[in-house]
Symmetry: C2
Subunit: 451 residues, 2 copies
């Protein structure tokens, strides 16, 4: 029987970052990472295996991160049971741990749609061979129907459109990205996709998948039939809680394994991170469905450095929810609260908005319009959320706004803040969107005071 100081189960971003962090923090500890898959994929790159990346295998998370950067032993095997601190693996091997980190991830949810077992029906499974098979189907497919208009759905649509396919998205709600962005942003995504040739069906459910053994079409709840050579179900995912059940850990079937703010499970010396760990919202403290690789890795780093003693300052503050994506040539980003969520929570808030160009003067080649919406708390004037679309700079702009929200910056803090601007890189200082949107909100308050 092999014995390790730290055993990580799961080879996705959470597990890998926990192993690296553990190695950085505790140089002398012996670490092993056990994963099921012979090859581990970069989850957020998966949509891009369908067009932008020539090979699915280009989206691989290198094993060297585990074996070299984390100095860990990589074990390709499956954990089947545990007794005290000894894990039994599918191969018959046994592994003893001092500290165990569960990072077993999530799997795509399957809705009760008749005919979902037909050939040509896919989900976004984090498996190389599965995705290579999907890519072979893509080669001969004409019509691709994507069920679910969340991030994965719109990113796959973007890829298949760029590959020249006929793409239809079917979304149950009345807007794309209905839970993560405000309606006007979902509608902007829709406009971009439609301009690329997509058909967007909103406010309808898929009732059945038609065809013999092979998909031929899908049928909506109003009996409309849409031809389909591939149906891709992207309606979210559920935590892989099998081991939690077997180990007797506290868990919630929808949200995942329960953990304290240091991500310790109900059993001593077992930590849980990533999609399998139940997460709390940064603002409400309530359990949340948001699952992101970047959050998973923040958790991995937190746990990796707290394994043998908790460094108190490293508290887990809950999921802020910082997303970015790119559809066509437009990048979208959101961090923190949307206006929809603020309404849902009955918050007293003010909105500031800005529309500008991300270079100055705006006549520069490559300049792109940018739109930013900020949500401030009305009483404390603290920044609660940001949504935006624009050029590629949105990718870091959304992170800048995340830092502002995490630091509870107020409108006044932002207004007097110093930022760097450059003609070839950013909006003009006089039109810098973060400042302009903040000034817009401040102006509304001043006018209220006068009124």
């Amino acid at each position: 029987m092999k014995k390790y100081d730290v055993v990580v189960v799961g080879g996705g971003p959470a597990g890998v970052s926990a192993a690296i962090s553990a190695h950085n923090t505790y140089q002398t500890k012996k670490i092993a990472l056990i994963r099921r898959e012979s090859i581990s994929l970069i989850p957020c790159g998966i949509p891009y295996t369908q067009h932008s990346l020539e090979k699915v295998s280009s989206d691989t998370l290198p094993d060297a991160l585990v074996t070299q950067k984390a100095g860990a032993e990589l074990i390709i095997d499956d954990v089947v049971s545990k007794k005290d601190k000894v894990l039994s693996l599918a191969s018959g091997d046994q592994v003893e741990y001092d500290k165990l980190v569960l990072a077993t991830g999530s799997s795509p949810s399957l809705p009760p749609i008749a005919g979902a077992d037909k050939k040509g029906v896919f989900q976004v499974v984090k498996d190389l061979e599965y995705l290579e098979n999907l890519k072979r189907y893509r080669d001969t497919a004409t019509n691709i129907v994507i069920i679910g208009g969340g991030y994965i759905g719109i990113e796959l649509a973007d890829e298949y459109l760029k590959h020249g396919k006929q793409v239809t998205i079917v979304e149950l709600e009345d807007h794309l990205l209905p839970t993560t962005m405000d309606f006007e942003y979902g509608d902007k995504v829709q406009a971009v996709l439609e301009e690329m040739g997509a058909k967007i069906v909103l406010g309808h459910a898929v009732r059945a998948i038609e065809g013999q053994s092979m998909i031929r079409a899908i049928t909506l709840d109003d009996d409309t039939e849409i031809p389909a050579d591939i149906a891709l179900i992207c309606i979210g995912c559920k935590p892989n809680i099998t081991l939690a059940e077997k180990f007797g850990l506290d868990y919630d079937a929808r949200y995942g394994i329960k953990a304290d703010e240091y991500l310790r499970s109900s059993e001593k010396d077992i930590f849980v991170i990533g999609d399998v760990a139940a997460k709390h919202d940064f603002f409400t403290g309530k359990l949340t469905d948001i699952k992101l690789a970047s959050t998973a890795m923040a958790e991995g780093r937190l746990v990796g450095s707290n394994l043998f003693e908790v460094k108190v300052i490293r508290r887990y503050l809950g999921v802020l929810g910082s997303f970015s994506t790119k559809i066509g040539s437009i990048a979208f980003g959101v961090s923190g609260l949307t206006e929809n969520k603020a309404k849902e929570m009955n918050l007293d808030y003010e909105v500031g908005e800005a529309t500008t160009i991300d270079r100055h003067p705006g006549s520069f080649v490559g300049a792109s319009p940018i739109h930013l919406k900020l949500i401030f708390a009305r009483y404390s004037h603290v920044l609660l959320g940001a949504e935006m679309y624009g050029g590629d700079s949105v990718g870091e702009l959304v992170n800048m706004l995340s830092v502002m929200i995490l630091n509870k910056m107020t409108d006044m803090d932002i207004d007097t803040m110093q930022i760097g601007t450059h003609p070839l890189l950013t909006a003009s200082p006089i039109a810098y969107p973060v400042i302009t949107a903040t000034v817009d909100a401040i102006g509304k308050w001043y006018r209220e005071d006068v009124a």
Copy 2:
């Protein structure tokens, strides 16, 4: 005699933003902006009038910002004197104010170089006709010598190289950007410019400008002669303090008009902002030479909203110094302390570094290498500075790091921070440079603890 509640003198970014901010804050106040130039230019766009922008006039700061966005009267005139609260203008007009904002800017410094009055010798003057004349000289010039390897110098070099000119930069110090970035970054700028065909002369002064009435060459302090059809002197600038002298305000000839932390001058009801206002360093509190449009505008917004009563929270924290630029296809950025400055100040610091690719997987078209260096205080673990180069995303990345420094985030705060990542927009979450460089610094501390 006309009478206004607020009179702003100077039509650059500082003056314009003060006028806009005053109008947003005090809706009913009557505002005038007096400036000398018939057309106001965007200062940071000036280098780009020499190649990237077809016309110099594309770099204009629109008057509508004054007349519409700030609802102010625009007066093209020159202030010559003041008695009590009445300004006398060159035209003979008189203007009475309640609150006066001086934003008279800076002018390029002229070093004592023999022959600097010859034709073909230019400075970076913020004047449309002057710059159009420079552009006409450019059309027939073959050899252009730039004296001074700071930001303006390297940006002009980049422009003239792109325009097919023979460009030489002469810099007195041993590295480009000697005062604002660490040597390895100045050296990287040098490598990029040399690859574009520039000749870089370091560690030498220009002794004389040769030729009859027209420039023919420049001579260095070691008698080397470099042929030149244009010499562009870019060695920094000095505050325009003429009015301060006339008005009897406290000032420092090198740093500018003295002001308190709300940017009030030594005379009641006179505020000073932008390049003409003496500035203090964010870290040391000492007077600093850093003059930036973005800082000027932060000051303009601060003063504009504090004119009739100071809103105490809006303190001016001193100049952080957030720069970005782009040379060739590489963007450079810096915020806060460099390692050179930390050494100069005898600070106890630790460095964290990261080198990665700004897309993931790195095989994406348009992906660019990125390098980041962070400076942390050793005892408090607070982030003090950041330097970087990479793709265009550096433009917002440097602002994100400015926000972190302004908020005094520690290595631990950053390590557990949540950021959004996306294959087409950012580095991979496992290689995100801000986290990786922070983890690098943390790792050094852990290893010290063990040792």
